[in-house]
């Protein structure tokens, strides 16, 4: 793959459930001559008393993410920062966010952050898995261990009132950039803010193979069936209405996409095992 296109302009945020917003933008890439997009998406949850930002946006999207936050928060403070993990596409704007929002605190599994942001450790709050972080107005967030992940201490999040599961690197897939001509400057947002069921073409395993290969190096080495069981247990327990990946369109058909994603894992695994 090679990134031959500049970053497309991030589309405006979408409210995927009341007071739950889909932010950030897409990377554009070319796969066998065809342009594709892949999201790098943070999410904002605004309760009556407090707000949470899940992931931080891609460093190159900072200007857009910063403006998106300003307009959605509308003068309120951002209270909690919860990157799913410390990798740059997920936590790369953490330093800028800590500077911009003076009351914001990093909360959750704090692994490694004391080495990376030593000047901010007084703003770190360790938070155990599955203890509700209450935001007011019935909104509450639970941290969960992430079954699909790269870094070992990755966390998923679940907002209980709207039943949204935030899955970081899980459920990742690419999408076509726009309905209009490709590469047109200032192209319309096209598919970037569509839910999975609204996409003109349903996501297939092929849409998930590329990002699975690139983002999860273990996928070719390990049969993901054991991990699938963990995902199913989580889905049965929480019954999310929406699954919000960092790298894919927000999913309103979690069970269909679970099938697509694990079909992609199987393709990646079998391709490697079969190659000489």
């Amino acid at each position: 793959m090679s990134m031959t296109h500049p970053l497309p302009d991030p589309p405006p945020p979408r409210e995927i459930a009341p007071n739950v917003f889909w932010l950030g933008g897409c990377l554009q890439d070319t796969l066998r001559g065809v342009a594709i997009h892949n999201h790098v998406a943070p999410f904002l949850i605004i309760g009556d008393d407090a707000s949470v930002l899940v992931d931080t946006g891609f460093p190159s999207h900072w200007q857009a993410v910063s403006e998106q936050l300003d307009s959605l928060l509308d003068g309120r403070q951002l209270n909690w920062l919860i990157p799913t993990h410390s990798e740059l596409p997920h936590a790369g704007n953490l330093g800028r966010l800590l500077e911009k929002f003076e009351e914001a605190r990093l909360v959750g599994d704090l692994a490694d952050y004391h080495l990376y942001y030593p000047e901010s450790t007084d703003r770190f709050v360790a938070w155990p898995k599955e203890r509700p972080l209450k935001l007011g107005g019935g909104y509450e967030v639970l941290l969960l261990p992430a079954p699909i992940r790269d870094l070992s201490r990755t966390q998923w999040l679940y907002e209980a009132s709207q039943k949204v599961l935030f899955v970081g690197d899980g459920f990742a897939y690419t999408h076509a950039p726009a309905d209009g001509p490709l590469g047109e400057p200032g192209h319309s947002p096209g598919q970037c803010r569509l839910l999975s069921s609204e996409l003109p073409k349903r996501p297939t395993p092929a849409d998930a193979v590329l990002v699975t290969q690139n983002a999860l190096a273990w996928a070719q080495l390990v049969d993901a069936e054991a991990i699938r069981d963990e995902v199913r247990r989580l889905m049965e327990r929480y019954e999310p209405k929406l699954v919000a990946p960092g790298h894919g369109n927000v999913i309103d058909e979690p069970h269909d996409l679970e099938q697509v994603i694990f079909d992609a894992f199987r393709i990646v695994f079998e391709e490697y095992a079969g190659a000489t």
Partner: protein, 289 residues
């Protein structure tokens, strides 16, 4: 395992009472810099079963007036890293930087080093890949800085200058997009987040382990490797260990220089730890080789 008492002791910057010192691995040619961190459950890549101090390293390769840094250490060690590099690099030298990964244990002092010494080129392995975010490393701090990011494909050499070059390697074992490197002049293999299973008993940056000082056992290699590479708890394709062996066989290796943990000094110690790591990749749970 206090390290640093090997045959190269004479080359270290011994000056009792001074602050942290860089460690000379090969006189005039190869240095380690960095500091130690307390081992506990706040660090993701080690098992909390051991207590002690783990060195986190960057490396400096010097050739004439040229300097290449391989990784830059963590922000927690920023002051020490800048001090140590000031002892090794003069103001006229603009170091090049090769990153083994785009994570903050490797890139954490890039902006500070660039501000002090000037950095124009940052190298990363492989092709441009938006998923690994190497093109973003200049933007992560509170101050954005821009560098020319040049990719070096696996198997290609990266010139340091004055006829010296290192080979860039894509290792079969990796969590994120990862680059290893081999320096034929000093027979050193730079292994990023692999071989990060050793540590120190004392809180002093003395990150060299020799065969005679090595008290590592197989269980230690396994628990720390599996802390980083969590998916090793599942059955892993046997092709992984086979490809690692092929990689080792291509190079004459006398020293392993990881980003986490001690430098493994000497061919005998290198081979022992390579066998252990391969046993972990094979899923062996008990004592081995």
């Amino acid at each position: 395992m206090t390290g640093a008492t090997g045959r190269r002791r004479g080359g270290r910057f011994t000056d009792a009472g001074r602050g942290s010192q860089p460690v000379e691995l090969v006189p005039g040619s190869l240095y380690a810099f960095g500091g130690t961190v307390t081992m506990d459950s706040r660090i993701s890549w080690i098992s909390p079963a051991d207590s002690g101090y783990q060195p986190l390293n960057g490396y400096l390769i010097k050739e004439g007036s040229n300097a290449l840094l391989i990784d830059t250490g963590v922000a927690l060690h920023r002051k020490d890293v800048l001090e140590q590099l000031s002892m090794l690099i003069d103001d006229q030298t603009k170091p090049r930087v090769l990153f083994t990964r785009a994570e903050l244990d490797a890139t954490g002092n890039l902006i500070a080093i660039a501000a002090r010494f000037g950095v124009e080129v940052v190298n990363a392995g492989g092709n441009v890949n938006p998923f690994d975010a190497f093109e973003e490393v200049g933007q992560v701090g509170r101050i954005a800085a821009s560098f020319r990011v040049e990719r070096v494909a696996s198997g290609e050499s990266l010139s340091i200058g004055d006829g010296r070059a290192i080979e860039v390697i894509r290792p079969p074992l990796r969590m994120l997009n990862t680059t290893w490197a081999y320096d034929p002049r000093t027979k050193t293999l730079f292994t990023s987040d692999s071989f990060g299973h050793t540590f120190l008993e004392q809180d002093r940056y003395a990150p060299v382990l020799t065969a005679e000082r090595d008290a590592t056992d197989y269980a230690q290699v396994r628990r720390h490797t599996c802390a980083r590479y969590w998916w090793l708890q599942h059955a892993v394709s046997p092709r992984l260990a086979t490809e690692m062996t092929k990689l080792y066989d291509r190079y004459d290796i006398e020293r392993i220089a990881p980003t986490h943990g001690c430098v493994l000094e000497g061919a005998e110690l290198v081979r022992k730890h390579q066998r252990w790591l391969n046993a972990v990749l094979h899923g062996e749970t008990g004592e081995s080789g």
